[in-house]
């Protein structure tokens, strides 16, 4: 897990997310991408570290801030970028947009824009696996803000009660939009609170991809062994505003700057460097590779066709020829 190749791979994944989203910002300014867009920049170690511990058959449910989770789960930059453009080649055929990325084949079940609402869904995916004796697990990402929703409480209890194969990853980035953790919660030790539901729970440094991966592997193998749901609090931070609309008035510049010193990408690059040259070469190569991927994704998205308006009513219900 700590070998050079693996770490280099993780670095590449984090870089892809970072550069992909930076490009999204430009495209948003150019009005090629619309709607609400929530950037994951700064939090890449969480999605990448956790996904490194998941297998391809494991399911993921994420939030509206899910470009990172989607890419880490293996969705192609092409399909995600096309989705942001609203094109028919998008991973949701342009019907979802940034907040509703889907890929059923890769068991990526969204892309959910109602805070906390992915949790019950994830419990259901896990329940199906448990009832059929499948080995696979389900992982649900959600925020510190979502922890305050009733849906979190109900799902945590249900999952613990039924011993569901569910990994709950709380991305504690200290804010829910403009509301800071201590204005959201009386008791801010979220892992401790999760443990009170009767499940294993611990916190991890969400700015250290290896730490996240290690924690996630420990949880995942316990879940696969039948130990029931686990809760991981990843302590992280978003470097950008909540969404493209957010003027970010509620955070101190110093706080943001301090967290940027903990950026997981240069940290991992430096670690690779310490592990032996030619690490700079690694980074350069990865950057080039990622830039090519993102360029190609943008180009493909630009060129892709739109869903014709005549097809508006498709995918609301299943056509009669398809049976359950």
């Amino acid at each position: 897990m700590d070998d050079r190749e693996h770490l280099r791979d993780l670095l590449g994944r984090m870089l892809l997310i970072r550069r992909f989203e930076e490009r999204c910002v430009e495209l948003y300014s150019a009005a090629r991408i619309r709607g609400f867009v929530h950037l994951y920049i700064g939090e890449e170690a969480v999605a990448v570290g956790v996904n490194a511990a998941l297998g391809p058959d494991d399911a993921v449910v994420a939030t509206y801030r899910e470009h990172g989770h989607a890419l880490a789960k293996g969705l192609t930059p092409e399909s995600v970028m096309a989705e942001m453009f609203g094109k028919v080649t998008g991973c949701s055929r342009g019907r979802g947009g940034s907040m509703h990325l889907f890929d059923a084949e890769r068991r990526f079940y969204g892309g959910n824009a109602v805070v906390g609402a992915g949790l019950p869904l994830a419990a259901g995916l896990a329940l199906a696996d448990k009832m059929r004796g499948e080995e696979r697990i389900t992982c649900c990402f959600f925020g510190d803000g979502a922890f305050a929703e009733g849906e979190f409480h109900e799902t945590a209890n249900l999952a613990a009660l039924w011993g569901l194969p569910l990994l709950l990853v709380c991305e504690n980035n200290l804010y829910a939009m403009g509301t800071s953790l201590s204005h959201e919660h009386a008791q801010t030790d979220l892992a401790m609170r999760a443990a009170s539901y009767g499940m294993a729970a611990w916190a991890v440094d969400g700015m250290d991809v290896s730490a996240v991966e290690t924690a996630a592997r420990r949880a995942v193998s316990a879940i696969r062994a039948g130990d029931g749901p686990h809760f991981l609090e990843a302590r992280t931070y978003r470097f950008r505003a909540h969404s493209m609309y957010d003027p970010d008035r509620y955070r101190e510049k110093e706080e943001v700057e301090w967290w940027k010193t903990r950026d997981p990408i240069p940290a991992l690059a430096a670690r690779l460097q310490r592990m032996g040259s030619p690490a700079d070469a690694d980074t350069v190569e990865l950057e080039e590779q990622v830039a090519r991927q993102v360029d190609a994704a943008v180009r493909a998205a630009e060129e892709a066709p739109e869903e014709p308006v005549a097809d508006l009513l498709r995918f609301v219900t299943t056509p009669p020829e398809v049976k359950a």
Partner: protein, 347 residues
């Protein structure tokens, strides 16, 4: 609670039994629904039932009594009081290939799960560009008439019928209680089944091994030529009673049972109205913004020049249903109200 009393139901099995077919079985709406679940679980091991008190208690209205003994606590699954979580869990399990039947005790409590129902179950197929389907059946009770007060007596079928992505059905006969659940389980999309609590004791007959009933069409429950009485669910018996009274007065009323509330089988409504030229829509929901408004508006759109009078609506008074007997009965549609509206329509 499940005893068999002599028949008093005015409804008949809608599909004729062939002479040499299986013996029709006398049963109740409650038992028919239970048998439908039993059969579904025997037939398909992806089917399971979950909800509050469906197992140890036997279902708060006794519908699932005995099922846990046959299928075990995994497949007849008591849940905590967590409507959002267990409805959402039903959605997730359905997506992952199971065929869950989720019971919400009453539609009043479905409000606690409304986010999951509208924002996830109904929307996810579209949001995912057709990749994700939710073959989930939600069963819930509806309706007033048992003095349960404002928080247990809503009729919110109309809200569900407003939601693209859902199918909504309201079996109103014993036969449909037996058949429509199987139809719902065959549907690849989320189906909400409304069971009016006043119907559970209804008696009737079903075939020995009934097939899945269609969940697409409305059905004429009584033929008539002067006025179309359009209704569904718990109002069907009252509407049939009204038709009896009207017949005594020389008014021939056709009674149309909508059966499926979304999508509406509107061609059946239009066909009936084109025969009778008068229509009264009967439902237990509050009048403003009820489903009766939709039916009335569509009749106007399709049959304006065939109508001899405006479409009338007989609905609940616009009041949270009160406890006191006389007030509750005054709040909800009675056969006499239907009679009066029909009389006025054909006048």
């Amino acid at each position: 609670m499940t005893g068999r009393k002599p028949a008093r139901s005015a409804t008949k099995p809608a599909r004729g039994q062939p002479e040499d077919g299986p013996e029709p079985v006398r049963t109740t709406y409650r038992e028919a629904m239970r048998e439908a679940m039993r059969e579904a679980m025997r037939r398909d091991d992806r089917v399971f039932l979950m909800g509050e008190d469906v197992a140890a208690y036997g279902g708060c209205f006794g519908v699932s009594l005995g099922l846990v003994e046959e299928f075990g606590a995994e497949r007849v699954r008591d849940t905590p009081l967590s409507e959002s979580a267990f409805v959402g869990a039903g959605i997730g399990a359905a997506i992952a290939g199971m065929r869950p039947i989720v019971e919400i005790m009453t539609v009043n409590f479905s409000l606690l799960a409304m986010d999951q129902i509208l924002n996830t179950a109904a929307a996810i197929q579209h949001m995912s560009g057709g990749q994700v389907r939710v073959p989930l059946v939600i069963r819930t009770t509806t309706g007033a008439g048992r003095q349960l007060g404002a928080q247990h007596s809503h009729s919110l079928e109309t809200w569900f019928a407003h939601i693209p992505g859902l199918r909504v059905v309201a079996p109103a006969t014993v036969d449909d209680a037996r058949g429509m659940l199987a139809g719902a389980l065959d549907c690849p999309d989320p189906v909400v089944v409304f069971e009016h609590t006043g119907l559970y004791g209804l008696q009737g007959t079903v075939g020995d091994a009934p097939d899945a009933a269609d969940i697409d069409t409305a059905r004429v429950r009584r033929r008539g030529s002067d006025v179309s009485l359009v209704t569904y669910g718990g109002c069907l018996p009252r509407t049939l009673a009204a038709a009896d009274t009207l017949a005594d007065e020389g008014i021939s009323a056709e009674v149309l049972d909508l059966r499926t509330l979304r999508p509406l089988d509107f061609s059946a409504v239009a066909a009936s109205v084109s025969r009778t030229h008068h229509a009264v829509v009967v439902e237990e929901a509050w009048r403003s913004g009820g489903l009766a408004a939709e039916v009335a508006a569509r009749i106007m759109e399709s049959s304006f020049y065939e109508l001899d009078a405006p479409v009338a609506r007989v609905c609940a008074a616009e009041v949270p249903i009160p406890y006191a007997h006389q007030l509750e009965q005054a709040a909800i549609p009675q056969a006499a109200d239907v009679v009066a509206a029909a009389r006025q329509a054909v006048d």
